[in-house]
């Protein structure tokens, strides 16, 4: 019995000299897994055009009905995305979203990606609805913000090819 007590205390003492395992959140953050599904981002091509073509397949795939997309037509004067159509309204209700990633799977242009931000706390439900402004990533270096004015006929495919347009 005595040995057991010593053994137990030994474990305690061993742990006393170990580094504390507590992660000092928020100062220190544990890196998330590479494929962690956090808050969505709407991606852009290198030239700044939005990848989203407003097809609303993400909204169709969403099991929680968290996504609302309303599309409009692109013109060469006001071009948002390479195809014929772009999302004029794009809303995701973060409180409805279950971060399943079906929207990512459904997206034909890989425009929507679930990134690694998980700090989503809100004071009211309205502010949990992220609009296109919040979801869209900043314009990459060398790109132009949308809407862009482009030369007529530069984009005549209804759906852009998957890779970045030159």
């Amino acid at each position: 019995m005595f040995t057991e007590i010593i053994k137990g205390l030994g474990t305690t003492i061993k742990h006393m000299f170990e580094e504390p395992i507590t992660i000092q959140y928020p100062e220190e953050r544990k890196p998330v897994a590479k494929r962690f599904k956090g808050r969505h981002e709407l991606k852009r091509y290198d030239n700044g055009l939005e990848k989203c073509i407003g097809c609303a397949l993400c909204a169709a795939a969403c099991p929680a009905d968290a996504i609302f997309v309303q599309a409009s037509e692109n013109t060469d004067e006001q071009r948002f995305s390479p195809g014929e159509r772009h999302a004029s309204v794009y809303e995701i209700n973060m409180l409805r979203c279950i971060f399943c990633g079906y929207c990512e799977d459904a997206c034909p242009t890989q425009a929507i990606v679930l990134e690694h931000d998980y700090e989503l706390a809100f004071f009211d439900r309205q502010s949990a609805i992220y609009t296109k402004k919040e979801l869209l990533v900043p314009v990459p270096d060398g790109g132009k913000p949308t809407p862009q004015q482009v030369a007529p006929g530069s984009f005549n495919w209804s759906i852009p090819p998957m890779q970045d347009a030159e």
Partner: protein, 160 residues
Amino acid sequence: MGAEQKLGNMGVVTARLEDVINWGRTGAMWPMLFGLACCAIEMMASQTATHDSSRFGMELMRASPRQSDLMIVAGRVSRKMAPVLRRLYDQMPEPKWVLAMGDCASCSGVFNNYALVQGVDEVVPVDVYVAGCPPRPEALMNGFLTLHDKIRKEKIGKWS
């Protein structure tokens, strides 16, 4: 401000009563155990050594509403559970806060059906909603910090 600096030299600190009390409240908040579903697992994880929510003064998860300040609703609330939730909330002493953890508690998330309360704000006033299905412990702690922000801004006149 001048007085603070001078008195500080004498080992006295002055501050507004609001700030002091709000600071006190943020630093010693005892959450009530209200795990209803999968979110509760993550809530428990936030109490473990890895995440250790006692760093925020949340030493204990109290099973009794009489001893807690913060109700963490972790999980979907069925219509049958709703009166119980409200009763426990009513039994909590003032001041008290409610944190809706996860999609189901916030707005019933993926379950858009008759059996579940479509967001616990139908039943109790919610201070902070935390998104996630379920939110990871860090996300929950981010919710705590958000709540702290809110408490720090509370005014003396609003105290009940």
